[in-house]
Symmetry: C2
Subunit: 291 residues, 2 copies
Amino acid sequence: MTAVTSAVAAAPATLAPPALARLSVHTVTTKPWSLETCCREYAEAGVPALTVWRDALAPIGAAQAAKIIRATGLRVTALCRGGFFPALDAAGRARAIQDNRAAIDEAAAIGAPLVVLVAGAVPGLPLADARAMIADGIAAVLPHARAAGVKLALEPLHPQYAADRSAVNTMAQARAICERINAAGDTTVGIAVDVYHVWWDDQLEVEIARSGRLGLLHAFHVCDWKVQSDDALNDRGLMGEGCIGIPAIRAAMENAGFHGDIEVEIFSKRWWAHDQRDYLRRIISAYGSRV
Amino acid sequence: MTAVTSAVAAAPATLAPPALARLSVHTVTTKPWSLETCCREYAEAGVPALTVWRDALAPIGAAQAAKIIRATGLRVTALCRGGFFPALDAAGRARAIQDNRAAIDEAAAIGAPLVVLVAGAVPGLPLADARAMIADGIAAVLPHARAAGVKLALEPLHPQYAADRSAVNTMAQARAICERINAAGDTTVGIAVDVYHVWWDDQLEVEIARSGRLGLLHAFHVCDWKVQSDDALNDRGLMGEGCIGIPAIRAAMENAGFHGDIEVEIFSKRWWAHDQRDYLRRIISAYGSRV
């Protein structure tokens, strides 16, 4: 065999596990739980941080949510999620921009330093047009984010979602958009790296390094890619249930200067039907052995 | 909106339909039919060419298949498929190379000028290792292909298949492998461009042009990407049933110098359960209006 083995592939199996202090769990991961239950259970289990999904926030509002979170002492990693900028008409695009400004305000209210952006896509709208709308939309909300002291993390989504969820599908694409939109020396908009979306990319390691040099690595999400999946959206694996070499990707992130929270974001009908407290224990265990 | 619209997105909706003389149908598209039935029905319907899958060949052998095909006057576009080079042990990799040499012999026997290669992948095997095995495997069979006068077309597969079918997932990756393996000035191994696999790629147009300049555009497959799919493998759409802007991609191929057969390759449990003769009429109609 040709002696071509990337550093990602060659990352040592003996890599030390990440510190528990960096573990953050997305509220959507334990979707059956309310925000209040998430906070209480995470804190009791020793999880130090969480990323709040807007659907968990909606029933109680940002002010009440902020109180609950503060009372538990949990750190807020990010608010999930803004984005979805492309629309078939100008009114739809304006509404998306308005909604992203609202997300930034919610993030500031709950003490989240970051809003994750899923770019958006509309079936039938040419991808090139969607991509232009995404860049324009982010540029339009950037001053609001900067004023609020909230960063933005554009998350490239797996190409299987290009038709209806995200016309931004690779690290290189996300990085190019960030470079074009940020003012010189600014890093308000950066990248959320989710192993599920980018693990297949032969440019992954190169792009993580490049984004790191530019100060654009804003978030790191983990879960796993199941080889046999019965649902393209809600059948993600717990770390270790699939085929992603997560420790090697974590090593690439750390080599590129990322030492922030490691966020567990899993959409899974299967796990949502499981006892959530037991599931949380398994998440913590998998975080210590498979990340 | 920023005035960034690629030529792919801007291809005229009024592009003239492709000549019927360029239509080729994959035997797997009408999977319920034997090779003999495919040949008879395609010829009667006015389809001038076919791509033969090895499972259609297996029951009768290449010599008998060649006779049947010649009797109908159909042109053979390609043999599908070789590849699947990565394996966990050396014996498995050697078997794959032997099997690819057999596929090249079968192609020569039925008058197919081309063998399509699906690269392969093994769950749990690091992608970088799989990629090295793929390059080594193609290099190992290249002299046999050149001696037989048969070309090879490496088909980048959609990233959703990276775990178990193909560690080659973009045009850029396939092109780089071809450039590395071909001797200077030779184009024995080139690329099969399948709209289903590459439509999402923001580098598609650039890479089609680049591959065209290098003489690497060996095949062009069409079908459609359904926005809601119930099966990642066998629920592809007939052209027009999904969201791919096929005419724009065809225009990019033609601008890059490709004027070969346009192959209809559709895996669909839904269409396989339909009356195949009616389905073939719909394929011809969609070819004339949605390609």
